[in-house]
Every structure is written in structure tokens, then in C-alpha cells.
């Protein structure tokens, strides 16, 4: 982060977002372990600065596609925490009426158009949204979030080429946490830097410390400056650390304890809060209060989700197709 003065309000907002994500995912972790949540869970603990920094650089009307590890982005984009929690708990009042769960949260009202259980599959959707924006002459952008593993899918390549060729208002945002499931980057990619691969599509690219929300924000703003100016898509690679396993329950046998310690040492919340304190922007009491607010919001959301009604089995056949009102 450049040595410009940090805006106190912004800094606290970023910290608050990160705390909210963290508190939420820790609650999800615990409730999943207690078998209150069905299915699989992929947590972004350790990666919160990417979601907070990115979302802070977006307008509410911008569109966002996220991944299986998407809770953080959905929350940062402003989704209703209660409905996110309800979805993860499989409840009828969840964003997707309990049909999607953790891996498929979409919150159209805040521009989150979908998560995806198929790695890479959401990339062209974001490009298609960008194409629609371009055709409709609207000022928004579309953002695709994806991991380092997704870069090896054919869809990354096809999408990047088309987006560049058509100068789409699209931001490709890679969360490079060094792993695709249990496989480290060096075993799955011929080139360690995702940003380096962008040249093959004439995409301007940035590589940034994904543990620093201000750096992420600044880089995304710079990239989006070009995108919004009609200069075509851009790619931002955020280097980040996944603290938990690929999914909850993953014993992470493939990582040394040193490596895990290093991941924890890169905790973006601790690092950022520490820095704000050092720069006199936050004292311990304020930090504690922010954390308490986050925990409070999460507790309410989880309580809501736990009490919310399960979907009616009779609704299972609804919405397979869109039916114009009046039709059978």
C-alpha cells in the first residue's frame, strides 16, 4: 500500500467487513462441525481481505460472480446476512430457497449473480453479463472471482480471449491461495504467476498482496478505472492464504505445520488491525467494539437461520422452468 494517508472511515469499514466475514465463517465452521449444516462447506478464512477490498471498490449495481468459496464476497457485496445464513442452513427463506446451499449462493438484489460448484464455469457468465452491459450501454462492470485452480480450465482461456477481443467491461479477479483442493500451484500450473498468463490475451494485469485490503482496493480501483473507461477487461491476481482445509473436514495432511503456521501468520485481520493501531487509527477498545458488532450481527443471522422454516417438500418441483404468470 502506498504511503498515502489512510482514510479512517474507509479503514474501519474494511476491517468491519473482514470481521463480519470471519465471524460468520467461524460460526458456520462450528455449526457445520455440530452437524447443523448439511452438505459441503468451503471457508475463506485467511482470505477476507480480498473480498473486503474488492467489494469496497465496486458499486452496488456492479455484478459479481463468485466461487464455491464465496461467502466472503457475498457478504462484502452487501447481501442480507440472515438470508445468506438461512441458505447455508437449507432454509426456505434463504436466498435460493434452500436449493443451492453454501456452494450456490446468489443474491441478485445486491448483484451477486451466482456461485458455482463447477470450477471455472462462472467465468463466461461474468463475461456474458459484461457483454450485456456493453450492449445495453450501461456504466456497470461485471466481476468474475476465481481461484488459481480455475486458471487451468479451458473456460478461463476461452473467456479471457473473447473478453479481450470484445473489450468487455469485465474484471477477472483471481484469488491465488496456492492450492486447488489439495494440490499446490506448482503441481497444477506451468507458470506460477497468474498475472503473467494474462499477456496471452493482451489483458492488463496486476499482482497484489491479497492480505492487505487497501492494496486490493487500490489495485482493483486502478484496474476498474480502465475497465470503466471502455478499455476492455483487466485481470487482478491477489496472493492470499487459505487457513482452513479445502473443505471443512479436510485434515490438510498435504501441508506441513510450518506452512500452516505461515498461513496463520498472514492473518489479514490481525495484520490490518495491527497496522491501524500502529497508525493511530484504531485503539483496542474500538477494535473490540467492531469485533463485538460483527459477532452480534452473525449471532442474529445464525439464530434466524436456525429458527427459520425448512422448505416445504411440495415446493421441490417449483421453478424448474419459468412459468409466465397465469400459465400452468
Amino acid at each position: 500500500m502506498p504511503a498515502e494517508e489512510i482514510d479512517r472511515v474507509l479503514a474501519r469499514r474494511l476491517l468491519a467487513t473482514m470481521q463480519l466475514i470471519r465471524a460468520f465463517e467461524e460460526a458456520v465452521r462450528d455449526h457445520f462441525a455440530a452437524r447443523h449444516i448439511p452438505g459441503f462447506i468451503h471457508l475463506s478464512i485467511g482470505q477476507e481481505a480480498v473480498a473486503a477490498g474488492l467489494a469496497s471498490a465496486l458499486e452496488r449495481e456492479d455484478y459479481l460472480y463468485v466461487t464455491h468459496r464465496g461467502h466472503g464476497h457475498v457478504i462484502a457485496k452487501g447481501a442480507d446476512l440472515k438470508r445468506v445464513a438461512a441458505e447455508i442452513f437449507g432454509k426456505a427463506s434463504g436466498y435460493c430457497r434452500g436449493r443451492g446451499g453454501s456452494m450456490h449462493i446468489a443474491a441478485f438484489e445486491v448483484g451477486v449473480l451466482g456461485a458455482n460448484g463447477v470450477v471455472g464455469a462462472g467465468l463466461p457468465h461474468a463475461a456474458g453479463a459484461a457483454w450485456a452491459l456493453q450492449l445495453q450501454g450501461r456504466p456497470q462492470v461485471a466481476v468474475a472471482v476465481f481461484g488459481d485452480g480455475a486458471v487451468n480450465t479451458g473456460l478461463f482461456h476461452e473467456t479471457a480471449n473473447i473478453a479481450s477481443l470484445w473489450r468487455l467491461p469485465l474484471l477477472l479477479l483471481c484469488e491465488n491461495n496456492g492450492y486447488a483442493e489439495f494440490t499446490p500451484l506448482s503441481v497444477h500450473a506451468a507458470v506460477e504467476s497468474v498475472a503473467e498468463r494474462a499477456a496471452a490475451y493482451r489483458l492488463p494485469a496486476w499482482r497484489v498482496d491479497g492480505q492487505d485490503p487497501l492494496a486490493v482496493r487500490a489495485t482493483v480501483r486502478e484496474a476498474l478505472g480502465r475497465v470503466r473507461a471502455g478499455e476492455g477487461p483487466a485481470l487482478v491476481e491477489c496472493l492470499t492464504w487459505r487457513v482452513r482445509g479445502h473443505y471443512e473436514g479436510d485434515p490438510q495432511r498435504y501441508r506441513s505445520s510450518t506452512e500452516l503456521e505461515e498461513a496463520v501468520a498472514h492473518d489479514p485481520l490481525r495484520l490490518f488491525a495491527g497496522r491501524l493501531r500502529r497508525e493511530g487509527l484504531l485503539n483496542e477498545a474500538e477494535e473490540a467494539e467492531l469485533a463485538a458488532q460483527a459477532r452480534q450481527a452473525v449471532a442474529e443471522a445464525i439464530a434466524y437461520a436456525q429458527e427459520a422454516a425448512l422448505p416445504d417438500p411440495a415446493s421441490a418441483l417449483e421453478d424448474v422452468l419459468y412459468q409466465p404468470s397465469g400459465a400452468g
Binding site: P124, G128, E158, L321
Partner: protein, 325 residues
């Protein structure tokens, strides 16, 4: 009303819908400046500009993915997949994405998206350019699939597909592209989910799909000369299947032959036969008999291809079999 070729009827439907609704736009390999590999999009880029009629790279999966994203934001994209065989490249986007999007988001998404593709055989297109794969799609909740059997259907079903708010796959037939018949001008829209009776008859019902409707009609003609009266149904839709229309016909004929171009084993005919074999069990005077391609890839050389793919002769044989005492 004027005589129009099948491919021209497709073109007219696209053109009229693009006129009517600025949200309609086209995507695909060579659909733009070149006017499509078979001329179906000829003149449309000139008329509607390169933004609405976009040539794409050979990136079929991404192109269907783009259409999904664009449809979510209110466009009504029509993607062309050059050969139906290449649907194999886009199955994830069609099945795991488009078909489930509305359901999976709890109704938040609406996906007005059309995929046009074509199939055909007896032109030695070879093993990778002649398959009819609609049965795969019959198995997928969330998609609609139609197979226009002639110029009228080509226009009327495509217009309906473009106006529908769900993903619809339209499977044209290249061996019919040059076929001409009277096609209504202007707003001619056929229902997507309904079969049509193409010839009335008493003795046997022939339920057919796509180009096999033509073969079934030819077979019925020949059989009529032999005193056998066939009712020929054009199923039109492979998903959903219009069981009701076929069932109603069976009430009269009590005998059913199903004919499609696709491999017989596991084809749409299997579902139709199974469903009616259950529903209409006590109506049947003879086993439901299916006509389809033999269990082999479709070979290039004409005598081999003819040995694999079905035609009117096979339908005639099947009808005679279900009538055999």
C-alpha cells in the same frame, strides 16, 4: 404466405424477432459477416450490426456461458452451435448451468436463451457430424428441446423459442434446409410443447421426430396404398414429450411405432415407449416398436451409413410388424 426454404424460414424468424425486440442477439462461429455456415443468419449482421450479431472464436462452451450471463441481464441471446455433435462440448454449460440456474437460485434467475443447432445424415458427414443427441436433453429438467420437421416448424418453433423465458434448444436439420413449403409471413408462432398430427389414420400411430416426420409421411403414403391407415404425429418437442397427443391417438389405433434418427438404444423413443407402455398398457394391441439408428457410430461411406441410419423402409417394416397377427 409464400414458399420458403427451411433455412430461409429460420432466417426470417431470427430477423423478425430481432426487429421486434432489441434484446434479441446472435452469437456463434461464423454467424456474423459470413451469414452462418448454412446461410441461416445471412444479412443479419448487416442489418442489426456487429454488436447484436457476433462472430465468436471456436470456444463453444464459453459462448454458451456468455449467453447465460447475458440472458441473466435481460438479453435474449440465440447461440448457434454448428453441429449437434458439438453439444458434447457445451453439456456442462447447458446442463449444470443453464438448466439449473433458475431452480438453483430459487427463482431469482430467468434465462431466455436459445441454442440453435442442426443435425442430419445420409450426406456422409461422418462419425462426428451426424449425431442426433436430443435424448441427452430429454433427461435434463430445466431445458426445452424442439426439432422442427419442416419450414413452418422451423419458423414457428424458433420464434416461440426466442420468446420463451427458459433455455430452449432448437435442433434443425441440414438435409431439410433446401426444402421449400408455404410458410406464413409475420407473426407465426407455434407452441413449444405440443405435438402435431400430420396425417390422420386409424390403424397405427407413428410418432416421429425431426426429419423422420418426413420419412413417416412417406411411409404412410406407401402403406395407404396397401390399405393400411397410419396416423403420423410430429412430436416436435423432445423435452417435454407431449404424451397426451400420442396417447389420444393410441386410443384410436392401439398400435404405436416410434421413429427418430438418433441411435435407437437410449433414444427419445425409449422414454416415449416406456411412458406409454406404462400409461397406455391396456390400450396396446401390439408391442410398441421403435425405429432408430443401429448401435454404431455413423460411418462416412454411403453404403455403411445407409446400413446404420433409419429411413421410411424401416418404418414400413415396423408398421407391418405391429400389425402382424
Amino acid at each position: 404466405m409464400a414458399e420458403k426454404r427451411y433455412v430461409r424460414a429460420v432466417n426470417e424468424a431470427l430477423c423478425e424477432e430481432m426487429e421486434r425486440d432489441p434484446a434479441v442477439c446472435l452469437l456463434g462461429v461464423d454467424v456474423g459477416a459470413p451469414g452462418g455456415p448454412f446461410g441461416a443468419t445471412r444479412g443479419l449482421q448487416e442489418r442489426f450490426g456487429p454488436q447484436r450479431v457476433r462472430d465468436t472464436p471456436i470456444s463453444e462452451a464459453a459462448v454458451v456461458g456468455l449467453a447465460i450471463g447475458a440472458a441473466t441481464l435481460g438479453l435474449r441471446p440465440v447461440v448457434e452451435i454448428m453441429f449437434m455433435d458439438f453439444l458434447a462440448l457445451v453439456m456442462d454449460q447447458l446442463v449444470n448451468q443453464a438448466a439449473k440456474m433458475r431452480y438453483m437460485t430459487g427463482g431469482q434467475a430467468k434465462l431466455p436463451l436459445v441454442v440453435r443447432t442442426q443435425t442430419g445424415y445420409r450426406d456422409s458427414a461422418g462419425p462426428q457430424h451426424a449425431q442426433s443427441l436430443e435424448a441427452w436433453l430429454t433427461h435434463v429438467p430445466g431445458l426445452k428441446v424442439v426439432m422442427p420437421s419442416g419450414p413452418c416448424e422451423a419458423k414457428g418453433l424458433l420464434k416461440a423459442a426466442i420468446r420463451d423465458d427458459n433455455p430452449v434448444i432448437v435442433v434443425e436439420n441440414r438435409t431439410l434446409y433446401a426444402l421449400a413449403e408455404e410458410v406464413p409471413d409475420g407473426d407465426y408462432v407455434l407452441p413449444l410443447e405440443r405435438a402435431a398430427i400430420k396425417r390422420e389414420g386409424r390403424d397405427v400411430t407413428i410418432a416421429s421426430l425431426g426429419v423422420m416426420v418426413r420419412e413417416a409421411l412417406a411411409a404412410a403414403e406407401t402403406l395407404a396404398e396397401r390399405g393400411i391407415s397410419c396416423e403420423v404425429i410430429d412430436l416436435r418437442s423432445a423435452n417435454p414429450l407431449d404424451l397426451q397427443t400420442v396417447r389420444a391417438s393410441l386410443e384410436k389405433t392401439n398400435r404405436l411405432v416410434i421413429a427418430h434418427s438418433a441411435t435407437r438404444c437410449g433414444g427419445v423413443g425409449a422414454e416415449l415407449a416406456a411412458a406409454l407402455g406404462e400409461e397406455a398398457f391396456y390400450m396396446l394391441d401390439a408391442p410398441i416398436t421403435r425405429v432408430g439408428a443401429a448401435f454404431a457410430p455413423i460411418p462416412f461411406s454411403p453404403p455403411l451409413e445407409r446400413a446404420i441410419v433409419p429411413d421410411r423402409t424401416a418404418i414400413i417394416a415396423a408398421v407391418e410388424q405391429v400389425l402382424a397377427p
